[in-house]
């Protein structure tokens, strides 16, 4: 070629080279495509994509209501708000807007939005209302995640009964824990295809069942106020109030101190989450004498006319049992054992029963075994029986008045309720009905066993009425005007690894009313109150105050009114 070639000549000569180069390149790419069709099946298999994913469709958790439909636990949505700083153009303006809505420091917000991170968290948790305001800004950079949250609209009310839902969406303690499976519904593990044409058949998860409790929010509120007042007035370190229907075992209210707010369960020590009413084991003290006497009467070891000579002390299995007042009371009948709360009398009865009959009777009352209440975290109490290495002959004597044996508050109330319920042991229950979609499962009262005969039950009830009503009775501070009350106090020493603590007692009162037609059974327990030595001084008046307001709230007519109504009804009906 000569140097005199024009640009056009060179261009025309070189153009085919470029064209051929491009056609060759295209041909190579086309060959590549053809080559893919010949890829070995095993390589192709290894590359084969998976269009299916497993997802978990969480169901809405069931709502917990009280007996009249007040919400105790429900589901709310909270918003977590983050932002992608590199998508924000007007950082200053956005910072000002967000800081105002989220009530954050404007400078700190600006610094976050101005950071080099691809994503920053602005606020981990705001209410749905604020979250929707942020949503309304309609900013592309803002990342809003809706976080379902369990919320407890009544705050601390009945916290230990309800329990709470942890960050792992598991229910813990109380109803939330016990009914975890029903409340959470069925979390559907579903295979979902990425291909939008392949829609799964059913995408709605099974929602959790709603649960109606037997609990009455108003009574619960009443006993929680009473409990708080009792704690403040007596200086007790803890306490439990339980209100139960002895006929059905339905628990109407149950409160313990200290409590917590399930909306902020993490703010308290983990041991506060327990429900002391079902998990605190304590020595019941004199309340146990009621069960001892009832068991002896039922087994006809003694008759209602039984008397013994009280000498103030009794040697049993190497130890000496003494009365609370360290005095000898002379000839005492069965009623007197309860009215004067005589340890020597109770031990005399239990020795007369012998260990076989005594422990059989205690077992019938459910001592030493869980009540099977539908709450998570129940303890069973401890009662050693002959054969256990811990048992000794002296236990038979001390157990009869509530020493050397531990119970939970609910166990004690359930046992006394059996006496109120003509000797029938009912299973304590907190759930009125479970509503699972269209199905309503009403819970029926669960009969456990016959603890004692009706006759024995009526005799013991009558004696317990005397405990309250006798003029010289220790416990007559618990009496409620217009109503016959059956009850018994207990002032128990607190065992420690080195013997019983000095100057500290657990004081309880267990009782029910009206005595001839029991509609409500109540347990009050205060730990280490400092304003008195005996439960009859400290706890009995509190029972009275509570019962006086309960009969109004529960519309239990006074005895004379009720008897008149029954008489009239008989006339009308006849």
């Amino acid at each position: 070629m000569q140097a005199a070639q024009t640009q056009q000549e060179i261009f025309n000569r070189r153009l085919p080279i470029v064209i051929i180069g491009m056609i060759v390149a295209s041909g190579y790419l086309l060959l590549q495509l053809v080559g893919f069709q010949a890829i070995a099946p095993e390589v192709a298999n290894e590359l084969r994509p998976n269009y299916n994913r497993n997802i978990r469709l969480a169901a809405a958790r069931g709502i917990i209501y009280d007996h009249s439909g007040q919400r105790l636990a429900e589901n709310t949505v909270e918003y977590r708000i983050g932002i992608s700083p590199n998508l924000v153009s007007d950082k200053r303006r956005v910072a000002t807007q967000l800081a105002a809505i989220l009530r954050l420091d404007e400078l700190a917000t600006y610094e976050k939005i101005n950071s080099a991170e691809p994503w920053v968290l602005l606020t981990p948790r705001v209410s749905a209302e604020i979250g929707q305001q942020v949503e309304a800004l309609d900013l592309q950079a803002i990342d809003i995640e809706k976080i379902p949250r369990r919320s407890y609209p009544q705050g601390t009310l009945a916290a230990q009964i309800i329990g709470f839902v942890g960050g792992d969406l598991q229910g813990y303690y109380g109803i939330e824990g016990y009914y975890q499976d029903q409340l959470t519904g069925r979390i559907r593990e579903e295979v979902v295809s990425d291909i939008p044409f392949d829609l799964p058949d059913d995408q709605t998860p099974d929602e959790g069942s709603n649960i109606y409790l037997t609990l009455d929010r108003d009574i619960q509120y009443l006993i929680e106020s009473e409990l708080a007042l009792a704690i403040a007035e007596t200086g007790a370190t803890g306490g439990t109030y339980i209100v139960m229907n002895p006929r059905t075992g339905d628990i109407l209210a149950m409160a313990s101190w200290p409590s917590f707010d399930p909306n902020a369960y993490a703010n308290v020590e983990a041991n506060v989450w327990r429900n002391p009413a079902i998990s605190d084991e304590y020595e019941p003290g004199s309340v146990m004498k009621v069960l001892t006497v009832a068991g002896a009467l039922d087994r006809e070891v003694i008759t209602p006319d039984f008397t013994y000579v009280d000498q103030g002390e009794l040697a049993v299995g190497g130890i000496v049992v003494k009365n609370w007042d360290l005095r000898a009371h002379g000839v005492v009948d069965v009623r007197g054992i309860l009215v004067d709360s005589l340890n020597v009398g109770a031990a005399t009865v239990s020795l007369k029963m012998g260990h076989e009959a005594f422990y059989a009777a205690m077992d019938a009352f459910g001592i030493g075994r869980p009540t099977r209440v539908n709450l998570e975290g129940e303890a069973s109490g401890t009662m050693y029986i002959p054969g256990d290495p811990e048992w000794s002959e002296s236990n038979l004597g001390t157990n009869s008045f509530g020493q050397g044996v531990t119970v939970t508050p609910l166990q004690m109330l359930a046992a006394v309720s059996a006496i109120a319920n003509d000797g029938l042991m009912m299973q304590p229950n907190l759930v009125a009905r479970v509503i699972d979609g269209d199905r309503v499962i009403e819970s029926q009262p669960t009969f456990l066993r016959r603890a004692i005969s009706p006759e024995a039950a009526h005799i013991v009830t009558d004696m317990m009425v005397s405990v309250i009503n006798d003029n010289d009775s220790l416990d007559n501070g618990a009496g409620v005007p217009g109503y016959t009350v059956a009850g018994k106090t207990g002032t128990a020493e607190i065992p420690s690894p080195i013997g019983y603590e000095s100057n500290a007692w657990i004081m309880t009162f267990v009782g029910f009313l009206p005595a001839d037609d029991p509609q409500v059974a109540i347990l009050i327990k205060l730990d280490r109150p400092t304003t008195g030595r005996w439960a009859s001084q400290v706890v009995a008046p509190r029972f009275r105050r509570l019962a006086e307001r309960l009969v109004v709230m529960m519309e239990i007519p006074p005895d004379d009114v009720r008897h008149a109504l029954e008489a009239n009804a008989g006339v009308v009906g006849g």
Binding site: Q7, Q8, I39, D194
Partner: protein, 448 residues
Amino acid sequence: MTDQGTPQFVDQDVNLPPEPVIRSTPRSTPRVAAVETVPAEARRGWLASLDTYLLVVIGSLLAISLLMVYSTTFDWSYQVYGDELVKFIEHVRNTGIGLIVMLLLAFINYRLWRRLAVLLLLVTIGALIAVLLFGDDTFGARRALINGSLQPGELAEYVIVIYMAAWLSSRRTQIRSITYGLLPFAVLVGIVGGLVMLQPDLSTAATIFVVSAIMFFLAGADIIQLAAVGATVGGVGIVWISGGGLSYAQDRWQSFLSGSADLTQASYQVQQAVQAFISGGWTGRGLGQSLQKFQNLPAPHTDSIFAVIGEELGVLGAGFVIALYVALVIRGFQIARRSSDPFGALLVSGITIWIAVKALLNIAVMTGVMPPTGATLPFISFGGSSLVVLLSGVGMMLSVARLSEQQKFKRPERSMPSAYYDRSGRERRPRVSRTGNRRSSNHTAPGH
């Protein structure tokens, strides 16, 4: 030509051909039957003056684009906007805008761009510097201005083609000189490509280097010089990248190297694309039936659209798309050959090369021949600014084709005094015009 105050390129050794301005009554030519052509030409009006071949190819690509963009966006549109047509309508609108721009440029005399080339280049360099200084950071790179709506890198590819065409056509044989040819070329391409590389946007920079090198070659560069520079740049580039100069490019390079040996080790995008081609087979799963587009292929409507074509239309469909690009290249180079001036020839061939390189780059990535880059498939991928820029390039090609065709009508080529270009195709003997700079002697375009 009138002096408009902007820098202009001046032909140094050849006169400018006269500019056809008004469609005068066509005269008979030896090759065209006057009786039939003239009324037909007059009847069909100005649209008919456009290159039908090129329009059919572009039209086919755009038709495939509409089908595939709908196929790849309906689910996304539905999920995000609740209406499966949202993104498709946006694409239809972009296509419409692109076509209007194309027609506009087809009827603007392409020689205007020669006069504006310097200005365009300065603006582009300014924008490239601005994006480095004030640009928005996305995914660790600064590529866009004004909230991502303007990407100077995309503009740079286009402007470098226009500028190269203008500059190379003004240099003529001086291109072979190192001082007047190679050195200014290297400096210029180095500045623009380097600025793009700093963003960093390696695929755009590579496109700029490759396209301008091929144009330089076509314009008559010394092959030995070009080979030497190519070897140096390639060597330095490989050393720099493998030495960790651009960590993201290095990662991709590593994944590419391992993937080309064993597909199961290839990068995610390549694996998914290959899977799409396998699933498509020879005839495809059928329009709209791609499975890979839903979750597995990244950016199925832009970068990975070729894989979706392969899955839905099979090797045959994908091959047809490749054939359309080949047809586009062939027609582009035909128009370049027929151009009445070197600027037109270099402009059209430059645009053609630019489109071809983009298409080859995208398809090469999809077929695992090249390491992944962010390249889109020209005319087919979703994306407004890219489509408008590409169609405006087609508009310039149409303008060159229209004007060179008109000249054929205007002057019988044998009698054309200024002809330096063998247009007949039958006569291979070059016509060399040696009349010196005739710029002053005549051809002040009337009414331009």
